[in-house]
Symmetry: C2
């Protein structure tokens, strides 16, 4: 059997169950959430790692060195944001074709240093090696949190929320992967949203302080895939109202509602936070969030009783079928 | 300018100086040692990461899934051993061509789990993604240590020691990269030493307890390269006596002394520990080491005054010129 037949999501779960079934020490948790947890006095350590490969996660000449460096760290910091952690350090491994221009690498490190400085997250180590094929980048981030949030913890009645516009990154990806599409200021906006995501570190830290925030994660694959992780980990179901999905002004201007909903639910790489909030606390938390960040905390649906693997999407209060189920790198 | 013109070692150092020059928080240390240090009550956390790429670090069909999994974790644990740390957790990222057999991956995870169990080092997370070219593996390990050792700390007069035979792995690599060479029981020994290194975790922990152990690292590139890291970090020089290099019985049987010395000094991937010991404490420490591990702590040379970038190799007490300077993935 080939990997493409079982897919990426099957892989980690099946092998970790088969070969790593020992009970973990108290307080330690691992595979299955945005971050692993290593307990320590004064705040648990949270760890996350992401691997980016050329022509799968990025097209080198489309994104350029600086934005690639920025995004490589940003997508990892986003996992720390999802847990409400404060960044402590990052580690960068790169496999580089020997023909790579040092100017490209210089720009890469400049971009990487941008978020490193912004969030006081020093680069403490890594590995550099030759690649006989494409550029491969692995970043590991370590953060620390006293009040941390997980995918589990969502409760029936919770309000499902997101911290910003959804779908712009997916619209940008369409331009990146279809070079024949005309480029203009509009396309540049979407492409920039795809290449230059901002990790919601401050939002994550702020939200993690509230007991009324029950579950949190970041949106990397689109809510139609990511919300299912919360549902599975929390053993609950969820309803999402399409009209409530926050869409950017350019998204509503340039795309039909149907396309916009598709980008917003199944597109991925928005790197906003997805959280569920106690309905009794939602008014207070969203008001404080808006005061602090000058943007709304968008309520897009609610958590319902008992586990189901499928999200119910409502359009004008009617359930809608046939929405995509997120994507899997291997079987897609 | 291309990367191949400046080489791997120049890369991290020059960009980290240029873009990551902020002072680190107290007790935090990063680039330039086997492990980074993140202070914490109850024992500092040590972190290391290694990237392995297909046809650069391994030939997939030569090593096979199980030994590749074993080695991927072993070379990282070796960095923890070098600091005297106790393993806490590992994180595994793999970029996999979709055509890869799941049997190969199953064997990989089985091998990875071997050292994971042996050293109580659970796999707590990672990332799996598609690769459009070869297999790429990145492992990050986290350990903890109260008494930790670094590359700096070597003092003039120290005895330079290693924990086991040198050069076998390099001899094995010659068979791996020259498939036309005949295979027999002898070649299998050397190939096994190359594909199946044992991280010296227990030895590292034991040695780190002694104040008389001044500096320690693991031997990944060969002592002609690795000992220079200790010399540079400690601002000292070193003399190595070739006759004292520990060679395996098969190495002395199958190779000329000159070839054996070359493998032992410049070959790399032995993953033994290289350390410098207070000469007044050497007798006591080496005796206790031999009692504990039933093998000698091999004295191979000594540390001398003031920094020089070159190791002095002695043969029959005479300085020898023309020895290789280790290797660099990009310029080699």
């Amino acid at each position: 059997m080939k990997l493409k037949d079982i897919g990426e999501f099957g892989l980690i779960e099946s092998f970790s169950k088969k070969y790593f079934s020992e009970k973990l020490p108290d307080g330690v948790s691992g595979i299955g959430d945005d971050c692993a947890v290593i307990p320590s006095k004064g705040g648990d350590f949270l760890v996350s790692t992401d691997l980016l490969t050329e022509n799968v996660h990025f097209i080198k000449d489309e994104i350029g060195g600086e934005l690639l460096g920025k995004k490589s760290l940003a997508v990892n910091l986003s996992d720390l944001a999802a847990s409400g952690a404060t960044p402590v350090a990052s580690f960068l491994s790169i496999a580089i074709p020997p023909e790579t221009d040092t100017e490209f690498l210089d720009a890469f490190f400049k971009g990487y240093a941008f978020w490193s400085k912004k969030f006081n997250c020093p680069l403490l180590g890594g590995d550099t090696t030759k690649s006989l094929s494409g550029l491969t980048i692995n970043v590991t981030v370590i953060g620390r949190a006293v009040n941390k949030k997980f995918r589990s913890g969502a409760k029936p009645g919770d309000v499902v929320c997101v911290t910003g516009f959804l779908g712009d990154s997916a619209a940008g990806l369409e331009f990146v992967t279809n070079p024949e599409k005309p480029r203009n200021k509009t396309s540049e906006y979407f492409i920039s949203r795809h290449h230059n995501p901002e990790p919601r570190i401050f939002e994550g830290q702020f939200l993690a302080e509230f007991q009324g925030v029950h579950a949190m994660m970041d949106i990397s694959d689109g809510i139609s895939s990511d919300l299912k992780h919360i549902m599975k980990a929390s053993r609950v179901s969820a309803v999402v109202e399409l009209e409530k999905l926050p869409l950017s002004p350019l998204m509503t201007e340039c795309y039909s509602l149907r396309d916009a909903y598709s980008f917003a639910t199944s597109g991925g790489e928005d790197y906003e936070l997805l959280l569920t909030v106690d309905s009794k606390k939602f008014a207070e938390i969203s008001e404080k969030f808006e005061q602090k960040f000058s943007k709304p905390l968008y309520a897009i649906g609610k958590i319902t009783e008992s586990y189901s693997p499928d999200i119910v999407f409502l359009e004008n209060s009617f359930p809608l079928n046939g929405f995509s189920n997120g994507f899997d790198h291997f079987t897609a």
